[in-house]
């Protein structure tokens, strides 16, 4: 009974991506920043996985690690990132090969293939993602020509003309009006909403199996956000693309994700189906986070419940449970040992001694 696996894991579906005990550190002159400190989670095929957590908790670094894009002086120091690749020549899923991305050379051919062709990233800074000196259309055309095997039939090389037509089609798919004109624009000529759509078109140009969207709507209006979220939901429904959706907006998570991972200081505090996370949160951090948001229905002009204390500085991580200095339920054992992520109830997992006694060995 104690080893009941959560539903998603127990099902016969095998994960598309499986991150295990991942650690990423930045060795700075002032000290070591353990940006990701033993993170584990799975992404199922076609699932929208929401990752939520405060600024600096390691969301973006985890995603960059999955793409082997962690910049110096950062380094993956431990853990595994198993990714099930696209089956060769349209074969069935059983013939798909699984690789450990953490062991692949960042600049090797396999990693280049995966990065451009199987896992796509919508980065946190859309402005930085496009070059200002080439039109957005040209940049997408180049990407399609580079990973052209997804689009061509019978091993033939794509022509530039064909790549351009595909780009126009992608622009239309993501709801950009007048796509023939828009693809000749520079990124800085587009409004925030259009730039974000162009970014999504770029990400889709390689027909990814996994799309990582890192805060894709944080910098835009609620109305544009609603449009972009509807677009991503629609793409997911039509193509069955798995999506990792990162945000610190709990409203966006509630509306987008089917399964949620809550991170704090580089570790997973809790994970589970979205309804359980919002209606039966187990971890004190998840509970505190949910209480601190103003809603459209609550009482106005009263103090909101806050999480006491501040996020610790990355150089002085607290020993034991990382949340213990701010936890309202802290117990005597919490500063002395790190709780491991364990099943709680039938569908959730939590790293908290309120629910189990299992200490993290790593």
């Amino acid at each position: 009974m104690a080893l009941d696996r959560p539903m998603a894991v127990a099902s016969t579906l095998r994960p598309l991506l499986s991150v295990r005990n991942l650690r990423v550190s930045f060795a700075l002159d002032e000290g070591l920043v353990r940006a990701v400190d033993g993170t584990s989670f799975d992404v199922m095929p076609g699932q929208v996985l929401g990752v939520v957590g405060e600024s600096g908790c390691g969301k973006s670094v985890t995603m960059r690690a999955i793409l082997q894009l962690v910049e110096r002086p950062g380094r993956i120091t431990a853990g595994e990132i198993h990714f099930r690749r696209r089956p060769p020549n349209g074969g069935d899923e059983d013939s798909a090969e699984t690789v450990d991305i953490a062991r692949l050379p960042p600049r090797g051919p396999v990693m280049r293939d995966i990065r451009g062709g199987e896992i796509a990233l919508i980065p946190q800074e859309p402005m930085a993602a496009f070059s200002p000196v080439h039109t957005v259309g040209d940049q997408i055309v180049e990407a399609i020509l580079l990973h052209g095997q997804r689009w061509q039939e019978g091993g033939r090389k794509l022509t530039r003309r064909e790549a351009r037509d595909i780009t126009v089609g992608l622009f239309r798919d993501v709801g950009i009006s007048m796509p023939e004109q828009r693809i000749d624009a520079f990124s800085w000529q587009l409004s925030g909403g259009l730039r974000q759509r162009a970014m999504i078109a770029m990400a889709l140009s390689c027909k990814p199996r996994l799309l990582i969207a890192d805060e894709p709507t944080t910098a835009i209006d609620v109305t544009t956000q609603a449009q972009v979220l509807a677009l991503l939901r629609d793409l997911q429904a039509r193509h069955g693309t798995a999506i990792i959706f990162i945000t610190h907006d709990l409203g966006v998570i509630a509306q987008m994700a089917s399964y949620v991972v809550v991170m704090y200081l580089g570790r997973v505090m809790e994970e589970g189906p979205v309804d359980d996370i919002f209606h039966a949160p187990r971890h004190p951090y998840t509970r505190a986070l949910l209480r601190s948001i103003p809603s459209l229905y609550g009482e106005t002009r009263v103090a909101l419940p806050v999480i006491s204390g501040a996020l610790p500085h990355p150089f002085n991580r607290p020993p034991g449970c990382p949340f213990h200095p701010r936890c309202p339920d802290v117990m005597t054992k919490c500063p002395g040992a790190v709780p491991s992520l364990q099943p709680v109830g039938t569908s959730q997992l939590a790293s908290c001694f309120l629910h189990h006694d299992v200490v993290d060995a790593g």
Partner: protein
């Protein structure tokens, strides 16, 4: 509370027909070929101790309107009547720089990006104390005492005053920005997206701080934001802006109970509910804010409005009082549910 109590006393601020046009120039001679009507006839009042929220999509003129009130830029037209501490009423829109100077201390600003507004090469003492220096208040010793007091007020330790801004987290930096805005004992504080860049947990701390400071120091806030749940939480009344004009103005509870403008209703529907059992994806507001250089004929909202009719495409609606204190710029306000 403060809204009703204050309604009887004369307002602290009365904005009438405020306009700000930016010229569009072409060619070598910088010939003016048109105008961006960024703010085009905005009216509202602000009672002492009250918080007015100003919301709307990007580019609808919120920042431009705020900057006019602070006289960071000169308005093109309209008046901004302000009741000074010594009981005079002055028009900030037309006041000469020399007459404006003594009022600078009374009206202060909190910015969206706390880092951009703090000088990274100056300690907190100099950053927070700068408005005092600019307004010629106190000697160095008195300024240090005041800065210590201000840091304590916003929940930071006074010892921090010798540190530089980079040593602080986002939420702490926003507290520093608030301390700086409060240095001169202002009466009116204009806050332009003060919590938009912050995490939910820190956002809650800063909102609580603003509410507490307001009660303690009797501050009057003009609170600009695009997050409706935040604006709703902090405001007594809310003004909704679209393409340079107010389209709705009402007490917060009335606005949320029954929005009287289709744009307000659409903004409310766009907020993702923080509950997976509430699906908030029906009837998304499509399209974008039209350019204020070439707004549509008739009602500016008609190309995106799902209630638009023939009349809306030709006749521009006026801002009308639908119920006491509840204003809407829609032909069908009061007759229809939006």
């Amino acid at each position: 509370m403060s809204g009703t109590a204050a309604a009887s006393s004369p307002p602290l601020l009365e904005v009438r027909g405020l306009q700000k046009f930016f010229p569009i120039t072409r060619g070598f001679l910088q010939r003016v070929v048109g105008h961006v009507r960024a703010v085009d006839g905005v009216d509202f009042t602000l009672a002492e101790g009250e918080t007015l929220g100003l919301v709307g999509e990007s580019g609808c003129g919120k920042t431009t309107a705020s900057r006019c009130i602070l006289r960071a830029i000169d308005p093109t037209g309209g008046s901004i009547l302000y009741r000074t501490r010594d009981g005079r009423t002055v028009d900030l829109a037309t006041l000469a720089p020399r007459e404006l100077l003594p009022l600078r201390a009374e009206i202060q600003m909190i910015f969206q990006d706390p880092f951009g507004s703090l000088n990274p090469r100056m300690t907190l003492l100099d950053n927070v104390g700068e408005p005092l220096l600019v307004n010629g208040m106190g000697n160095r010793r008195e300024r240090a005492d005041r800065v210590a007091e201000l840091l304590r007020l916003v929940g930071l330790r006074p010892e921090f005053m010798h540190r530089f801004p980079h040593a602080f987290s986002g939420g702490q930096r926003q507290r520093i920005g608030i301390a700086r805005a409060l240095a001169t004992n202002p009466r009116l504080v204009v806050a332009d997206e003060p919590v938009s860049a912050l995490d939910v947990s820190i956002q809650a701390q800063v909102l609580n701080l603003l509410l507490e400071l307001q009660a303690r120091l009797k501050l009057t806030f003009l609170f600009v934001a695009h997050d409706l749940s935040v604006v709703r939480h902090i405001s007594d009344r809310i003004a909704v802006m679209y393409v340079g004009q107010l389209v709705e103005l009402a007490r917060t509870d009335a606005l949320f109970r029954r929005p009287q403008h289709p744009y307000t209703a659409a903004l409310m529907r766009a907020v993702p509910a923080a509950d997976p059992r509430v699906r908030s994806d029906d009837a998304i507001l499509a399209g974008e804010v039209p350019s204020p250089a070439a707004p549509p004929q008739g009602c500016y909202f008609n190309p995106r409005c799902r209630h638009a009719q023939q009349r809306c495409r030709v006749e521009a609606p006026a801002l009308r009082e639908i119920a006491p204190g509840h204003f809407s710029r829609c032909h069908f306000a009061g007759e229809m549910e939006f």
